[in-house]
């Protein structure tokens, strides 16, 4: 009677010790924590931004721009395929209209051949489904659209690339605690603990930092007056603060910032101005050499995000692959630009759709009041349980203590963020954890009332309450799972504490209490139930 299997005792002991080991770092000062031997866990609970203070930005990829860029590529691809088909298929009107890239066959009877030539483009390189769908019209018009699946895939890739670019931009040394993760297909969450003014972050993230090199088209003032631009050119505004004037440049860049292998701030030895030194890769070096040889005496413009940074005259061919860009820089702006260029361009523009900033002092206040409320909840529950159930209440309290250690240990181990709603979840869990104890004790009382002796009442109290406890708590886990699916940051923290708390509370209320009561029973051999 009232034997507790040895494996249960061992299980409880092992789990409790693990819980203590993982919970301990939270109560040690930073210095002690650092000097712990390597085999001991040293991770403390990861506080959410609302508790430690900091900034969070939710960024969204501009999918429309991404789609447009991709359609431009598709139009190019279609044109190339038709041109390179044997025999070549003649086309006109290569363009992007709405959500489709289109070309028009000069001779609609060649549609069958065109279909064959274009089929290759539509197939995914990784196999599987088609990535573009083609529609044909009798007059020779062929339209290609990106399939929704592929568009999602593209935005997911763009988000992934953006994460790396953002990391290089805002955390070039890799030392800060900034966390950058993808959410869904097209969103990125940037969390920067301790940052109380996110403007710097936003500025660095917000720039696409696409650097392009264009030839300047010199236009006589009279011609400029007419407002009509020569074919294939565009009017570009000066980059803010660069001190240059508007320019008319060729629409097509000769090459882009991808060819840069190095960019760093420096000072010009003659003028003492801050400049940006750059080094091109081998292909860029060849290109730059050829362009500067062919266009000696003309001007070229360096554009950043389609704004003129500088437009110097080419005095001699530059074939060394390195150079300087002057743009009326300060030390800071030259440095920032170098970081941007090294980080590379974003694949698509990003917009901030949600922004939260919490001052660290506000977070500390939340921790304090949350801590007080938790402590009060624990004390109230302890007092109430002991008053209500006497010795068995004490057992329940011990189980609750183990439960709290396990929750803290599990939170530290998983690294889930503890948020302010999470603290509320913790308080609720404390109160709810005794529910399993109450169900068990009440069942014991029922059994005792039905005329069973103490041992039998205790035993069947446990075994028959089990089903109820499992049913009752599984439903709470279900609710927490939905919270995970739905929840943004803080609410997700609540779901974490709630689900961890439910699991640990069933474990402690059932197993820990059972062992305690079994020990007590063997020691005192009571005739009647003390509750």
């Amino acid at each position: 009677m009232l034997q507790v299997a040895r494996w249960r005792i061992i299980l409880v002991a092992v789990v409790t010790l693990l819980g203590i080991a993982f919970a301990l770092p939270n109560f040690l000062p930073e210095r002690v924590r650092e000097s712990l031997p390597g085999f001991l866990p040293r991770q403390a609970i990861n506080l959410g931004l609302d508790l430690r203070g900091g900034s969070q930005l939710l960024l969204e990829i501009d999918v429309a721009t991404l789609q447009r860029q991709q359609l431009d590529n598709v139009a190019d691809l279609m044109a190339t395929s038709l041109r390179e088909a044997t025999p070549a298929i003649r086309y006109t009107g290569r363009s992007v209209v709405g959500d489709a890239a289109r070309v028009r066959l000069v001779d609609p009877t060649q549609m069958e051949a065109a279909r064959r030539a274009l089929r290759v483009i539509g197939q995914s390189t990784t196999g599987g489904n088609d990535i573009y769908t083609f529609t044909e019209a009798a007059d020779g018009l062929v339209e290609a659209r990106i399939t929704p699946v592929h568009l999602r895939e593209l935005s997911r890739q763009a988000a992934q690339q953006s994460i790396e670019v953002i990391r290089r931009r805002i955390d070039p040394t890799g030392t800060s605690e900034v966390s950058i993760v993808r959410q869904g297909d097209e969103r990125i969450i940037v969390q920067a603990p301790g940052v109380s003014d996110p403007e710097m972050l936003k500025q660095r993230i917000g720039q696409t930092a696409l650097m392009t090199f264009h030839m300047v088209r010199e236009v006589s003032p009279d011609e400029a007056q007419t407002g009509r631009l020569p074919a294939g050119t565009m009017l570009v505004e000066p980059y803010p603060g660069s001190g240059v004037s508007q320019e008319i440049v060729e629409r097509r860049p000769r090459f882009t910032g991808e060819r840069l292998v190095r960019a760093s701030p420096s000072t010009d030895s003659q003028t003492n101005e801050f400049v940006l030194s750059f080094q091109l890769d081998s292909q860029g070096t060849r290109l730059f050499c050829r362009i500067t040889s062919d266009n000696t005496g003309n001007r070229f413009a360096i554009l950043l995000d389609n704004q003129v940074l500088t437009a110097p005259r080419i005095n001699e061919p530059i074939c060394g692959g390195s150079g300087q860009i002057s743009g009326n820089f300060t030390a800071q702006s030259a440095n920032d630009l170098a970081v941007m260029l090294r980080a590379g361009a974003l694949p698509a523009p990003l917009t901030v759709i949600d922004e939260r900033t919490v001052d660290a002092s506000l977070g500390q206040d939340a921790i304090n009041s949350g801590g007080t409320a938790s402590a009060v909840a624990v004390i109230i529950t302890f007092v109430f349980m002991v008053l209500a159930y006497g010795l068995f209440g004490v057992f329940a309290c011990i189980a609750l203590l183990v439960n709290m250690v396990l929750i803290i240990g599990a939170m530290s181990m998983i690294g889930a963020a503890l948020t302010l709603p999470g603290i509320a979840g913790l308080i609720l869990t404390i109160a709810m954890a005794v529910d399993a104890n109450v169900i068990i004790y009440e069942r014991m009382r029922d059994e005792a009332r039905a005329g069973r002796g103490a041992a039998l009442a205790i035993d069947s109290g446990f075994s028959r309450a089990m089903i109820t406890i499992i049913d009752a708590n599984l439903t709470t886990i279900l609710a927490a799972m939905i919270l995970f699916q739905f929840g943004a940051g803080p609410v997700r923290g609540f779901a974490w504490t709630l689900s961890i708390g439910v699991i640990t509370s069933v474990f402690t209320a059932v197993l820990v209490t059972q062992i305690l009561i079994a020990w007590w029973f063997r020691a005192s051999r009571p005739k009647t139930l003390p509750i």
Binding site: D365, S369, D435, S460, A479, I482
Partner: protein
């Protein structure tokens, strides 16, 4: 008999007749639910929904959505916009703050004096609310720059900027999560018990959620993301309570096959009453602690939970269980196994 442990003071056997009052309870519940829904659609009995409907734009569905939005004091999460918390060691000139807000951005600007921290340090706080701005960064920067004119030493301690897109997603996501939770619970109960139990549990949950929403709507308590978490927890607590009752009900249905259903329900409710009371009281006490000590950020959560737990307890007793009476339960099934369930205490050692 010793007074301690106090549980002995609770009568061992109560004989409340819940089912007898089920009719009155049903009337009360329906009346309260109707009142809650009316409150939600009239902005807490303060607005005329027809006017709101006529002023709103878009499809009929979007207009009804607009009425719903008026029904609650929506927080920044669901309303969208920018909310800036300013703290200062001295009094904040609210008019100057409003002027500063206006200089930063046109449109609706709301200035509220708020109590900021439990320990009153710094003592003065104000909240500045904007509609979503085309250029939020610039707005916040302008405010930051002009703070000196509002109060000496004032600083921004909290900024929440939520775009309309995100707030709409959160709002619909929250409603979907609530609906999904209730359905999932119903199916779980149907799977574990009988379909009548599942429907009864669902009625109880819908009842809890509607009444809690009604309270939030009528008293204009700020409705935030945390409240959705509270509502989901209320669903979890309510179903927890209901499961305990149903579990005993199922057992008793097998034990007492001849007893009328209404009496079995009464018996089961009485048998689980002491557990219902003790768990409920523990939870309520912890939440009262949270309400008074947890700070302003969690008070809405505590209110929702307090009310929801009272509702959940009431609804397991007076909604979920009596609802089973409406459809009845097939009793024959336990016939052959009836004896076994009584024998389990002995065999379960």
């Amino acid at each position: 008999m010793a007074i301690w442990p106090l549980i002995r003071l609770l009568p061992q056997k109560t004989n409340f007749t819940y089912v007898k009052f089920a009719g009155i309870a049903a009337f009360l519940s329906i009346a309260l639910c109707v009142a809650s829904i009316v409150s939600i659609f009239t902005g807490g009995l303060r607005e005329n929904p027809i006017e709101v409907y006529q002023q709103a734009e878009g499809t009929p569905l979007a207009r009804i959505g607009a009425i719903m939005e008026h029904g609650f004091n929506l927080g920044i999460d669901f309303r969208g916009g920018t909310s800036i918390l300013i703290e200062a060691p001295g009094p904040i000139d609210q008019e100057a703050l409003r002027a500063l807000g206006q200089s930063a951005q046109d449109g609706d600007i709301e200035v509220q004096g708020v109590t900021c921290r439990p320990n009153n340090a710094p003592p003065y706080c104000a909240l500045l609310n904007f509609e979503t701005a085309p250029n939020q960064s610039a707005t916040v920067e302008t405010i930051r720059g002009g703070l000196a004119s509002v109060a000496e030493g004032a600083r921004i301690t909290n900024v929440d900027a939520v775009s309309a897109k995100v707030s709409e997603e959160l709002f619909s996501g929250g409603l979907i999560a609530l609906g999904l939770a209730i359905l999932l619970m119903m199916f779980y109960i149907m799977f574990r018990f009988e379909w009548q139990f599942g429907v009864g549990a669902m009625l109880g949950l819908v009842h809890d959620v509607i009444l809690t929403l009604g309270i939030f709507s009528f008293f204009r308590i700020e409705f935030t993301l945390t409240i959705i978490a509270a509502l989901l927890t209320i669903i979890g607590y309510g179903i927890n309570d209901t499961v305990v009752v149903f579990d005993r009900l199922r057992e008793n249905l097998r034990k007492f096959k001849k007893m009328p259903l209404a009496d079995v329900i009464d018996l089961s409710l009485n048998e689980t009453l002491s557990r219902t009371i003790i768990t409920g009281v523990t939870a309520l006490m912890a939440l009262v602690g949270l309400l008074f000590l947890g700070g302003e950020a969690l008070s809405g959560f505590a209110i929702a939970m307090l009310f929801g737990i009272i509702c959940g307890t009431y609804s397991s007793l007076y909604v979920a269980a009596p609802a089973i009476l409406i459809w009845g339960v097939k009793r024959g099934r336990g016939e052959t196994r009836g004896g076994a369930s009584q024998a389990t205490p002995e065999t379960a050692a």
